[in-house]
Each structure stands twice: as structure tokens, then as C-alpha cells.
Symmetry: C2
Subunit: 332 residues, 2 copies
DNA sequence: CTGTTAGCGCTTTCAC
DNA sequence: GTGAAAGCGCTAACAG
């Protein structure tokens, strides 16, 4: 009579134990992925019972005792900030392959961060991967009550580790390529300068250009978007440089289209064009833009290394970098 | 002496209650978003204590009793299947705005689905949104032990509701546009025909073409990608049609590039070109492809309507549709 | 190896 | 209004 309790909701481990004729503890052990001590026959009985009942553990309940949820928060800006979709496809796949799940937090502004902080959703994740540059490490640690925060937005304080592409390498290669081809002057089309990554990127370009004796004729400010690239190219301040360096491929596409339009038959091109990000788009024939990229696999591998042992990762004091490289295409 | 327990981990509701000098039950009620009965002064004391301690409720523990986690699973294929990023940006934002979070499940194949089924991660979500066409409704319901499954992949059984763009409308408009411009013959470049959505899409094109007296000269099979569009256009079977209908914008881009290359000066174009998806890419000057799209806001609104009251949504027996429309651009 | 016993942090009866 | 107490489903001691 009492065995008919738990009518409608899904079977619990207690049901499995009862059916198998063992204690809950034994059932728990038999079902555990780790190798807990259980006699062979009881394990078999438990497994059979679980199968028969269609038992699925309640991971929330489990996490209450184990203090681990197998949930990773990925914090991004608006999603079109993903300069590279492939990266996230790879990342999510890899995270899943180590048995964890990804919970996406889209944080389009500083206020939203405050919002989450106040309402406290999605705490208790095992770790947080921060791509959004609206969040600093301290805020995120506070937000998730966790020290396992990996900064991927170019920011880092002393306490949280970070992984960043080493942009200096690719930029040096690109500028060297230009110099080798006789470029003496250039324009720089930039993105949101509020971002520390962007500031560093611009500084790298300037340093390399100075080193190679390339004169900076103008610095046009965009926002990484195609439209902002178009606007820059149409701006009255637009100079007549030997080369144009854009801090995003989308902006380079905009620049390219404006000039295709203005000088439909210009052949050879009026300037050498360099983008940044190495979007898969640049493999399209209409936008064969030389760019700067990095090995997504290596990058994700570092992230996974962090996830599988955050403490060890942080131990390596310095922030981890992944090298970038220049990818020549038709526009240079 | 005992008040110093709970040293390092985050404060629990018991800590708050203790500091406020009330019982845990009172603290729970005072902190609840619903209006539970608590005297004003105790509520104030609790709120103050919570603030002071930086208390954040453990949502997992809460969900153990409330049976609701405020977690929505979004199940996708590989991420580049997102024919439209904007959609997911919008979707995640909206879901967050109703206080829920998104957990992303990337399921690249049927085997992966089985995998999840066995390991049973991420159960107990409140609802699942299925974009992946590797999962049928029954599997997903089983997978999540939940009836609150919304099919967005074009599949549906009798039990789970669905939302789909009504492609017939936009396709009819596109074919009508072609017919009005004197198109008498056409080629069709298709995607993965294993997908039911694609099958329906193709059927729609054929029906409309028949209706308008447009002859189908060839049906080339691609996989939605740019490269497959290029391949189709280079195929020996490529006819000389008045128009080319592609079931994705990316394929149309590939077709366009191949022909730009083959006939650099062809002006007017040798055929009218129609894509599908209305990618934001088609706003780029280099790919001004006429396409078929739908209102993402309306689509997401329907999804949200489901999320806020799944039972009511399912009540309206029929599957919900969102109209598509033709978006003319330079290529038609 | 096994079962009993405590909880994890929170909400919710149910009496007062 | 309030608090004591009973769980939610699971795992982790601790004795046997």
C-alpha cells in the first residue's frame, strides 16, 4: 500500500533501492560514475531496477550535497559581438564533451550586470567564462560567489586568470607585410575605444607602423560594424593612404564596398586593405580581405584546461596567451 | 561560539534569519517575491540582514521544493546552423527578461541525443526549445521528463506544440515577383533534403512555379552553405534559367560569386536570383540578394507566450505560424 | 562491502 | 502573524 507512493512524478533513487531490495546508499553507489564499493550482484540488481524504472537522477538534488552542478556560465555581450561563431560552436561542444553544460548569460550593458547581481540568478555555477567587456573580474566573482572566473575579454585583475590572443604577433606580421610591399602611409579604422582590448590593439598598430616607418595619416573611429566601416570610408577626413588597417573584418568589408562603388574599375586597387578577426566571411569571394586570426582550437583548449582544473591553471601566475598570425588574401 | 559556523561559504537563509532574530520561515517569506504574510517590521529586519550579509538564495535548493528552476533548454544543431544570429540574441534577451536563464545544448547528431538521454544532464529544466532537427518531440519530452517542449524545427507530433514560419507566403510572393518579371524557367538549389522543413520548402517552390507556369529546369542539391552554392553553380547540370531560387542565402551568395567570376561584365544579369533567410549579410553591398524573411520579433513573441504559460499555449490545438514575406533586392 | 543517519538550503504545511 | 518541523532527492559520514 505504501509502495504505491510517488505515483506520478519520476522515480527517485529510493524507488530504485526499494525495487532492488537494497538501501538507498547502495543504490547511490551503484549508480555513481565513480567506483564506489558495491558487491557485484547488488550493483547488477540496482542497475536493472534503475533501467526498469527509467530512473534519472535529479542533478539539482545531487548538487546540493556535492556542491558542484556541472554548469558553466558563459557571459557575453549582445551575441553579434561574437566575431567568430565557430569559436562558440567549438567551445560549447568541448564543454559538453567533459560532461558539463553551458548556461548563456547575455549582458548587453553595465546595468544588466547590476541587475543580475541584484536578482542573483544563475549562481552556483562551477565556473564563469567572461567574454563580455561589461564585466570586470571582481564583479563576476561576486556575482557567482565563485573564484573560478576566467576572463576572456582582455581584462584581468590579479586574482582571476585570463586567456587572450596575443595580437602583437599578427599585427607585426601584417604591418611588416605592408612595409615589404612599399606601403609608406596608412589609415587606421578603429572600433569601440572604450574596450581595453581595442586600446591595446590600436597601440600595437601604431607601434609597428612607427617601427616600419609607416606614417599614420588618419584614425577613423567606428564600432566594428560593416556600417561603421562604410561611414569611415565616406568621411571627409578620409585620406589617400597606401594602406588601410581596420580593427575588424566587418569594417574592412564596409571600406571595401565604398571604394568598389567609388572606383568600380580601379585595378590595381587604390590601397592595400587589412582586416582583423579572420572571419569565415573573408573566405567569400566578394570579400577576400587579408586578416589576422588565431587558432581557435588552441584557444578553446586553454579554456578547457582551466575548466578541468581551475586551481592548477591559476597557478601558472601569468595570463595565458594564444598567438595570432597574419592571413594574407587578395586585398593586401 | 556556534554563531561563527558557516565560515567560508556563502550565507544561507538561516544566517539571515539568525541575524534578523526571526525564524527561517519568516525569513523565507520576507524574501519571497510573492506576498506572503509577514509583519512589516520583521520584513524590514530580514531585508536589512539579507542586504548586510549579501545573501543570495541558492536557486538549486529552492528548486528542490518548488519544482521549478527557471532554466530553459535551447537545443540546437551545430551553431552555424543558426541561419540568423539576431534571432538568438533576441531570444536569449527576452528569456532573461522574464527572469529565466538559457542553457544551451548543442546536439550535432542523433547519437549525441542518445548520449544526453543516457547521462541525463540538464534535466529538470522548465521547458525545452528545440531548434535541432535531430530531435523529435517524443525524444525530447523523454529526455527532459517534461511535457513543456516547444518544437521549432518543423517537426511536431500531436503532443508538443510548435511555432514555424509560414514559408508558403513568402515563397508565393517571390515566385510571383519572378513571374511578373517574365521569368519562364528556373533552377532550384536546395539544402539538406533530409530535413522536413526543407522538403516542405521545396514543395512550396514547385507548387508556386507550377501555378505561375515557370518551368523547373534543374534541381541541384546543396547543404545550405556558401561552398555548396558555388558547387551547384559550377555543376555540369547547371542550366540556363531565367531565375535561380536557392533555399538559403548562403547558397545564393555562392551562386552569385561563381557567375560574377564567369561573366564579369554581365549587365544586366543573366538570371534573377532569389535567396532564403533574409540574412543580415544580404544587406552588404556585395550580396544584394532578394530573399524571404519573417519578423523575428513576432516569432520570439510566440515563443515567449509559450514559456509564460505552456498549458494555455498548447490549448490552441493547431501549430502556431508566423508569416514570411518576400524582400526584394537588386538581384531580382 | 553495507545500512543507518545526517544533512545540503530552502519552502511549506500546520498548529499555535 | 509566527515558528517548529517535515521534507524535496541525493550523497557522505560512520559504524557495523
Amino acid at each position: 500500500m505504501d509502495s504505491s507512493r510517488k505515483r506520478r512524478s519520476s522515480p527517485t533513487i529510493a524507488d530504485v533501492a526499494e525495487l532492488a531490495g537494497v538501501s538507498r546508499a547502495i543504490a547511490s553507489r551503484a549508480l555513481s560514475s565513480e567506483n564506489r564499493p558495491v558487491s557485484a550482484d547488488k550493483r547488477a540488481r540496482v542497475l536493472e531496477a534503475a533501467e526498469k524504472l527509467g530512473f534519472k537522477p535529479n542533478l539539482l538534488a545531487r548538487s546540493l550535497t556535492t556542491k558542484t552542478v556541472n554548469l558553466i556560465a558563459v557571459i557575453v555581450n549582445h551575441i553579434h559581438d561574437f566575431s567568430d561563431l565557430d569559436l562558440f560552436d567549438l567551445l560549447i561542444g568541448e564543454i559538453q564533451s567533459i560532461g558539463k553544460q553551458v548556461i548563456f548569460l547575455r549582458v548587453g550593458s553595465v546595468e544588466r550586470i547590476e541587475d543580475f547581481l541584484r536578482n542573483g540568478v544563475a549562481y552556483h555555477v562551477d565556473a564563469a567564462l567572461v567574454f563580455s567587456d561589461f564585466a570586470d573580474a571582481a564583479s563576476v566573482r561576486k556575482m557567482f560567489r565563485s573564484d573560478d572566473v576566467l576572463m576572456l575579454n582582455g581584462m584581468h585583475d590579479g586574482s582571476s586568470p585570463s586567456v587572450v590572443p596575443d595580437e602583437a604577433i599578427g599585427i607585426a606580421e601584417a604591418v611588416a607585410d605592408a612595409a615589404a610591399k612599399g606601403v609608406r602611409s596608412a589609415a587606421l579604422v578603429t572600433g569601440r575605444v572604450s574596450s581595453p582590448v581595442e586600446q591595446q590593439r590600436i597601440a600595437n598598430y601604431k607601434a609597428e607602423m612607427a617601427k616600419r616607418g609607416i606614417r599614420l595619416l588618419a584614425e577613423l573611429r567606428g564600432d566594428y560594424s560593416y556600417q561603421s566601416g562604410r561611414l569611415a570610408a565616406q568621411s571627409p577626413e578620409w585620406p589617400t593612404p597606401d594602406a588601410v588597417f581596420c580593427t575588424s573584418d566587418a569594417m574592412a568589408m564596409g571600406v571595401m564596398d565604398v571604394h568598389r562603388e567609388a572606383f568600380p574599375d580601379s585595378n590595381p586597387e587604390r590601397f592595400r586593405l587589412y582586416g582583423f578577426d579572420n572571419l569565415s566571411l573573408t573566405d567569400f569571394e566578394a570579400y577576400p580581405i587579408s586578416s589576422i586570426g588565431y587558432d581557435k582550437g588552441a584557444y578553446v583548449a586553454e579554456i578547457l584546461r582551466f575548466l578541468s582544473d581551475p586551481a592548477a591553471f591559476a597557478d601558472g601566475r601569468a595570463d595565458v596567451t594564444v598567438p595570432t598570425f597574419f592571413v594574407p588574401r587578395a586585398t593586401s
